[in-house]
Amino acid sequence: MSTDAPAPAEPSTFRKALRQKRFSVGLAITLLLVAFVIVAPYVAPFGENEVAGPPFSKDGTLGTDYLGQDVLSRVMYGGREILVIALFGTLLGMVLGIAIGIVAAYAGGWWDEVIMRLNDVVLSFPQILLALVVLTAIEQPSALILIVLVGVSHAPRVARLARGVALGLVSRDFVIAAEALGEKRSRVILAEVLPNMNAPLLAEGGLRLTYSIGLVGSLGFLGFSTNPGAANWGQMIQENRLALATQPWAVLAPVIIIAIFAIGTNLMADGIAQVAQRGEN
């Protein structure tokens, strides 16, 4: 609308998102959970592998698990691996994906075709399958391998989105104007294209983080974690699930905390997505 009265200064995506209830709620949940994961091990009543009583007993707040370890303490210790791997995996996936997507959109033509075709190949693996295929040949995955797996499985999905957003921008006149002035290609990408992508990319980042939590949790649940003895929310479900009827908390506690975590990040992502969508209109 050309006729709007002088509008207030355009606030940043983050500020606009904060005005959304779902974003602020999601952010609060996520921050609280991260704080819990970091602080809890220092205040846990028992050690990570300390036996607190007989297996599957009602001792302690949430009872004990299959080895008689305290469930509450295990939950307090068990978030580190998920958090670290999900966070860095997401970061890696975003960086890779954004780079691939923007280069494909900006280069265009033949390069675009080839890059996106290869992207399709990786896309045809459901994320968990890609991880499993690689884990077949590996005896015991390290945290680094899991991070790379999570990142690589996100990258083509992020790339597809980033390319779509960038395609809408590289044909805009302000990018062409920069080209006509003879700006360096790297500057065109970094100063003209990228800053206009931050809202949709942030939303995608939040969504990817949600999926990362699910993915790392699933891998733990299937028994693929860096250390079989350590506490790990996903793995706890696997270890204790036969006792769901008798000692439900040993399973439900990690399930519920993963659920809260995923809901928090997803709310956050959706809040940003709303802002991004409004920005387009």
């Binding site: 779902r22 075709r117 290869l118 399709d120 190949v121 990786v122 896309l123 045809s124 693996f125 459901p126 994320q127 968990i128 399958l129 499993l132 295929v133 690689v134 884990l135 077949t136 040949a137 590996i138 005896e139 949600t210 939590i213 699910g214 993915l215 949790g217 699933s218 649940f221 299937l222 028994g223 693929f224 996903g234 479900i237 699930r241 769901l244 009827a245 439900p248 399973v251 439900l252 399930v255 993963i258 659920a259 995923a262 809901i263 990040t265 997803n266 709310l267 959706d270």
Partner: protein, 345 residues
């Protein structure tokens, strides 16, 4: 005036002349090209699967663990099965050639042919995925239509909040919560695990199908429903729906004939994506419910480092994705006049 109208007829002739003349040939060419791309993708998938499983680590060392050094005979047997003495290229060619002729290799764990080993579970999984899709699609579309009908009013916000909360949950979380709710802790209505005899099928006991199906449905339906709602709303806000209303077309006809038809194409795309998603979701869900399908088998094979089984199963899952995508592309083009006429002209 007269010369104006002749000038105007020019672009029209252009459109008319090129239309339909090569319709059939153009379609054949498009299909051929699209099939060719699908084959190319599958080939690259096979390369990726082979490289990931055969070159990233040493599966034999992984299988034998500590026995590796103490049991040279077993090492040699496995090396023979995997053809470890040959180059990577010739091993790939052997394997890929086998795939094409239907020979999927021999399982390292059970030394039985892979094809024989997996055929039963492929059927089981296909039934599970098909059943979930059958429940999910009408459910997701129905919820989307109700939500769009009440846009931004109370029922819509409630539905959207619930969907948003479920949409972020991983499948095992949904599964465990359902088990706790319906099978063990709160109610005891459905069995928590699938038990089927080696000769029978899991659906011989229909009750046992409920929870795995429900888990998969709850896992993907919220996402589909949200996308369909969004595309419905976009269409409802379009100029042509506004014109239809201003023309005096009754609201239910506007919805049915003008809106739904144009909103269904994005719906198809997202359903295709989610079907492929389901193919991945079965891995975790089958493990959770001990459902005898390819997911359970895949996890076992990965744990046992049974390379040939993993290779075969991942090719099948990736293949499903490629085929589903191809069908979705074809359907969207057939349902979008603009795309349809673009091909035939």
């Amino acid at each position: 005036m007269s010369d104006v109208s002749t000038a105007l007829h020019d672009p029209l002739e252009e459109v008319a002349a090129s239309q339909r003349r090569h319709g059939a040939a153009a379609w054949a060419w498009w299909l051929l090209r699209r099939l060719g791309l699908a084959v190319l993708t599958l080939w690259l998938v096979s390369v990726l699967v082979f490289l990931a499983t055969a070159t990233l680590g040493d599966p034999i060392r992984a299988i034998l663990g500590r026995d590796y050094n103490s049991n040279p005979g077993r090492v040699q047997q496995l090396e023979e099965l995997l053809g470890s003495d040959q180059s990577v290229v010739s091993r790939y060619l052997d394997w890929a050639g086998g795939l094409l002729t239907g020979d999927l290799g021999t399982s390292l764990a059970s030394t039985r042919p892979v094809g024989e080993l997996i055929s039963g579970s492929v059927t089981n999984s296909a039934v599970l995925v098909a059943l979930s899709a059958l429940v999910m699609i009408p459910l997701a579309f129905g919820v989307a239509m109700i939500s769009a009908h009440y846009r931004r009013r109370r029922p819509d916000t409630v539905i959207q909040t619930i969907l948003l909360a479920i949409a972020g949950l991983p499948e095992f979380v949904i599964g465990v919560l359902l088990i706790a709710l319906l099978a063990t802790t709160v109610f005891k209505v459905f069995p928590a695990v699938t038990i089927s005899s080696p000769t029978g099928h899991p659906w011989d006991n229909p009750e046992a199908m409920v929870l795995p199906t429900l888990t998969l449905v709850l896992w993907v339906a919220p996402y589909v429903s949200r996308i369909v709602r969004a595309s419905l709303l976009e269409v409802i806000d379009s100029d042509y729906v506004e014109l239809a209303r201003l023309k005096g077309i009754p609201e239910n006809v506007v919805m049915r004939k003008h809106a739904l038809l144009n909103a269904i194409v994005p719906g198809i795309q997202v359903v295709a994506l989610q079907l492929a998603f389901l193919a991945g979701g079965v891995v975790v869900v089958e493990t959770l419910f001990s459902y005898p399908g390819i997911g359970l088998q895949l996890v076992d094979a990965v744990r046992n480092h049974d390379v040939p089984v993993v290779q075969a199963l991942s090719m099948i899952i990736a293949g499903v994705y490629v085929v589903v995508n191809l069908v979705a592309d074809l359907l969207s083009i057939l349902l979008t006049p603009r795309a349809r006429t673009a091909i035939s002209s």
